[in-house]
Structures are given as structure tokens and as C-alpha cells.
Symmetry: C3
Subunit: 141 residues, 3 copies
């Protein structure tokens, strides 16, 4: 694990979100562990494993392209807690900014993001992510 997780975790999130927003769904899936899990209170069930994560992101990416929409995911306000030797827990806020080509940006969603990250060299992988959208009641699956 890196000496300054604040910096490496931030660097990881920037890279991870650029991959997603650029539509590189294979690269995005590789930022999760093999058995990594992604849950959200907007989804009926958690998605687990890189293939399933890539498939879900691919469907969203295709829909955005079809509808001529661009999304930018901002992660910020990170509270990092060291776990055992090679893990950290990170609670953060996320904003999803959506812009139609030819249109006006909107804040599509404001969420919290609770991650369990595991060290991967001097970088990180997501083992478990739980997103809670502020506009939805109820907890993630």
C-alpha cells in the first residue's frame, strides 16, 4: 500500500471515472477485483464480477451514445479509513453531470459512494462499492 493513500486513491478515482465516462467499459471493469461487487439503491440487485460489471456499463454507454448524452462522474469529499494491510474504506460523494450534445448540463444524480478498495501494486481495485442516490429512499441490495 502506498504511503499517502489520499493521493493514490484520488488518482485511482480520476482514472476510473475517465474510463467510464470515455466509454472504455473493459478498462472500467478492470478497475474492480475479479469478484468485485457494485450495488446501488437504484438497481434491483448488486452486479458482481468483471464480466457483469462490463456488461452493465456497456448497456449504459450504448444508451448514452444513442441519446447523444455525455456524463461526467465527479468523486469528492473523500473520507479514507485504513483497513488491514492492503485495504482502505472510502466514503465519498459523487455527482453525475449529464450534458446533451446541443443542450444544457444538469446534475443528474447526487450520491454517496462507499468503497472497499484493495491495493494492487501502488494502485487500487474496487472490491465492493455501494452507491446510495440521494433522491431514493431505501438501502442498496
Amino acid at each position: 500500500m502506498t504511503d499517502l493513500p489520499e493521493l493514490s486513491v484520488r488518482r485511482f478515482y480520476a482514472r476510473q471515472m475517465h474510463l467510464l465516462d470515455d466509454g472504455d467499459v473493459t478498462g472500467w471493469a478492470q478497475t474492480f477485483t475479479e469478484t468485485g461487487s457494485f450495488a446501488s439503491n437504484a438497481m434491483p440487485a448488486a452486479v458482481a464480477g468483471r464480466d457483469a460489471i462490463a456488461k452493465a456499463a456497456g448497456e449504459t454507454t450504448a444508451a448514452l451514445a444513442r441519446d447523444k448524452l455525455r456524463r461526467r462522474h465527479w468523486i469528492g469529499m473523500l473520507a479514507i479509513t485504513a483497513g488491514d494491510d492492503d485495504t482502505v474504506r472510502v466514503r465519498s460523494y459523487a455527482l453525475v453531470i449529464q450534458t446533451p450534445i446541443g443542450g444544457t448540463p444538469t446534475v443528474l444524480a447526487s450520491t454517496t459512494c462507499d468503497d472497499l478498495l484493495v491495493a494492487h501494486g501502488d494502485d487500487w481495485l474496487v472490491a465492493d462499492r455501494v452507491i446510495a442516490r440521494d433522491d431514493l429512499d431505501g438501502v442498496s441490495p
Copy 2:
């Protein structure tokens, strides 16, 4: 004071805003000094002291719960100036994102935030905060 105030100040702001947004008004008040002051050009007068700061935050928290609104405070674009041994001045931007449960997020406010922070172990406390909302003319009290 910490060697890398950029990191500890960011960590402080994340924790402080999580406390506020989670409605932990006692924890929030403890992030100010005993005589800490909070002023805003949206308020008729500054609020000083932890009890008064907790009371003001408690009223806001109760109103948000009643109206089924969630707020997220983002602090960013930090310009940090070292003061004497154990203080820093921080000028930052803040965004308040408000989401009605069942509704759509909005940018409720864009502000500047001018803080005087004093070291508290390897963490910080707010001795003086001045918020200036961009939509309001005039200076803080």
C-alpha cells in the same frame, strides 16, 4: 501542525461536511473551536460558540428532514496560506447540492468560504468561517 496541510485540511473538510450532511450537529459543532464563529452574507449576524453553532445546524437539519430534502456540501479549489505556527487560512469554493427525495438535484448555492483553521493534534478546528453566497450582494456580518 501537519507537514502536508493540503492533505489534512482536505481530510478535515470531508469529515466536517459528512457530519453536517448526516445531521450530526453535535459532531459538527465540535469541528469549531469553543469560541468559533460562523458568518454568512445570508445571515443577519454571525453565530459564535459551539452551542449556538449546534443550535443553528439543528434547526436546519430538522427543517430538511421535515421537507424530505438531502444536502451535500462540496468544498474545493482550496488556496491554503500558512499563518503562525498552528494556523492556516483557507479560501475555498463551496457548492450545496440539494436533492428532494423523489426529486431532482439542484445547485442550491455557490459560495466562497474563508476559514481560519487552528491545529488540533494532527487535525484542525475552525476558529472563524465567513461564507459569501454568490447570489447575494453585500458582505458578511
Copy 3:
């Protein structure tokens, strides 16, 4: 070049955007190299050199003052790549938050920002900046 470019680059962006948003167009122009270039897919041609950069910013600043609008530029989600000894490339996201005095903040623009920064003491200067607004098709000039 600094040992921790993440910190010095962030510090640079905060200072640079405060200068712009405060209307200090001379100070803003000084954050570019003498021959620094600023291009955007919202502009017909790139602007090059400090005088031209100051002039363009001055026109925008005057229009905002006339129309009683305040802007805040947020730069985030930084991906930094070290170049040769004294340069870095930074891909980031930017949000422009605009607030009419007496009105409601809006997200005026969501963009990517691709910078070539050159070291300047322990600080940075922009040698080349390319902005791509998400709402516009096409590439920068």
C-alpha cells in the same frame, strides 16, 4: 519540479481559477507561459500569448459584471502524467457554475481540460490548454 505534483498542480489550479473568477485578468494571464495557448471547441480559433489571453478574459469579465453574473470554475478528477523533466500533462474535468446576483446557480458548462504545464519554480505555468465543452460536437481548433 516538485516531488508531489498532485499537490502543487491542485494548488496551481485553485490559485489560477480564483484569479479568473475574481476578475484579475492580468494575474490570470501570468499563469500562462509568454507564448501560452488557450483553445476551446467553443472558440473559432486558439488564443495565444499573455496579451491575447488577458484581452479575451477581460472581455468576458466586463460582460459578467455588466450582467451581474458570478462564475466559479471548478477543476477536478485530475489525471497527471509526467512528461520530461519539467513538464506534466493533466487531463481534468471542469465545471463552470454561474450565479446571477439575486438568482439561482446553474451549471453553465461541463468540460474536459487538457493541459501541458511547465514547471516555474515550485509552481506551474500553462503552456497549452485545450477545453472541450461536453455540449458541443467537434474538436478544438
